[in-house]
């Protein structure tokens, strides 16, 4: 326990975090590429087509759509947790994490909306329906964009961090509320059974789970890369960054 606590504290040090993530990153990228390659192979070539609904090849969209939709939500929750850590324990690095998750999360949300929409056209005959899931996903996109917009509207970084952290927390309280109210509201008028949990055949499971794992790692890699940039940006004046930068510059000139 004490050890975990100390590690947590060490993560609060920009230098330590930068070095550690630098060590992890190649591994994460490696695993991401492998998993995505395998997953895409399975999902695009090796998996069977969906016969029942007569969707044909469009079912392959699922292998992108489902992970993206899952990550969009996980991303926001992670953001809110980091925001709480930042506000309660006054840990500056947590704000850098919050800030780094936002663009990747927004991108995943957009991807889920986009793939869902493209999928919806052949299956439902419309690009957009005000279905509960789709709608709450749209609102989630607005929450992400609001966060990004708020952060970008401050010139003072520490203010931007704190204000947008409060927004992230308020937003996360609202996500379940939004989800349930949208669901309740929608079923009043019509119900779509497409997104209900059905038994997924094993030949769909393997590629789906591989893609899920791959996309999670991809998400982590994107966040970490962004986080490293953020760390450098926030510590421009400190000595280790100067040293790192000049060392890097030397490497470049040597090449």
């Amino acid at each position: 326990m004490a050890k975990a606590w100390r590690w947590f504290h060490q993560l609060g040090s920009p230098k330590y975090l930068f070095q550690k993530t630098g060590q992890w990153l190649p591994w994460i990228w490696g695993a991401t590429l492998i998993l995505l390659a395998v997953g895409l192979y399975y999902s695009l070539w090796a998996s069977p087509l969906e016969a029942r609904q007569g969707q044909g090849h469009t079912v392959r969209i699922m292998y992108i759509h489902v992970p993206a939709a899952a990550l969009s939500m996980v991303g926001y929750i992670a953001m809110a947790i980091a925001a709480i850590v930042g506000l309660v324990w006054k840990m500056k690095m947590a704000f850098a994490v919050v800030r780094s998750i936002a663009p990747a999360g927004a991108a995943m949300t957009f991807l889920a909306l986009f793939t869902g929409s493209v999928w919806g056209k052949p299956t439902w005959g419309t690009w957009w329906e005000w279905d509960a899931r789709m709608t709450s996903e749209l609102l989630l996109l607005f929450l992400y964009l609001g966060f990004i917009a708020l952060h970008a509207s401050f010139s003072d970084r520490s203010k931007a961090d704190k204000a947008s952290a409060i927004l992230a927390i308020v937003g996360v309280i609202n996500i379940p509320i939004i989800y349930f109210s949208v669901k309740w509201w929608n079923t009043l008028h019509q119900g779509y059974s497409v997104t209900q949990k059905g038994a997924l055949a094993p030949e769909f499971q393997v590629p789906l789970f591989t893609m899920l794992a791959g996309m999670y790692l991809l998400f982590a890699a994107l966040v970490i890369m962004r986080l490293r940039a953020e760390i450098i940006l926030r510590n421009q004046k400190s000595r280790w960054v100067m040293e790192w930068a000049t060392a890097d510059a030397k490497k470049v000139t040597h090449d």
Binding site: S155, D156, R157, K237
Partner: protein, 226 residues
Amino acid sequence: MPSLSSMSQSQDIQFDGLYAHELTVSRSENVLLEDAELHLAPATITYLYGENGTGKTSLMRCLTGLLQPDDGKIYWNKKPINHPESGYFQDLIFLAHSLSMKNELTIAENLTFYAQLRCGGSYNNKELQADISQVLTDLGIGGLEGRMFAELSAGQQHKVALARLMLEPAKIWILDEPFVNLDQKTRGWLAAKTLEFKAQGGVVLFTSHHHIDELPVDQKVGVEHE
């Protein structure tokens, strides 16, 4: 930072008045003050000087708790200023660059609001209105009580802000460039009132880029940058 050690420290503080300990202040990554110590004793007037942009305003905002310092503690009568028992915010009047008056209200309404906010209902309204008239007359803008704040000249607006000093009881004044825009007569008035306040044990911290002959100071603190 373990909270225990800072508690014990707070008992060590021996200084009455305002005391800032190891204060570090930065603004958008520039460190303005590092490990600064500042002691404003009761019944003293302190003059804060320094060239433009050295951090006088930033320091004042830290001392009023509006700006979070990067590090350091600030005590009022031996208690951290945020401590409920310090009573700091009851004792403090801070006049900043922005005059904090509402354009849509009249002079009297603006002043009444701040006085009531500080004193609650204890300030009898009739008395308060009489006091306001009195102060405004002293300031040379008597009779303008009912004028909208927006319709005053720059100096007149400033005078209204200064009137607060006379209407609200306080033990410490922090004044950011209080002499700006004022004519000679009003400067003299403010200097005299400041000396009176000091004589009653008040603590005063002010900045000014001009030397004010009428106001002898007890302590000069310079903010110099790099």
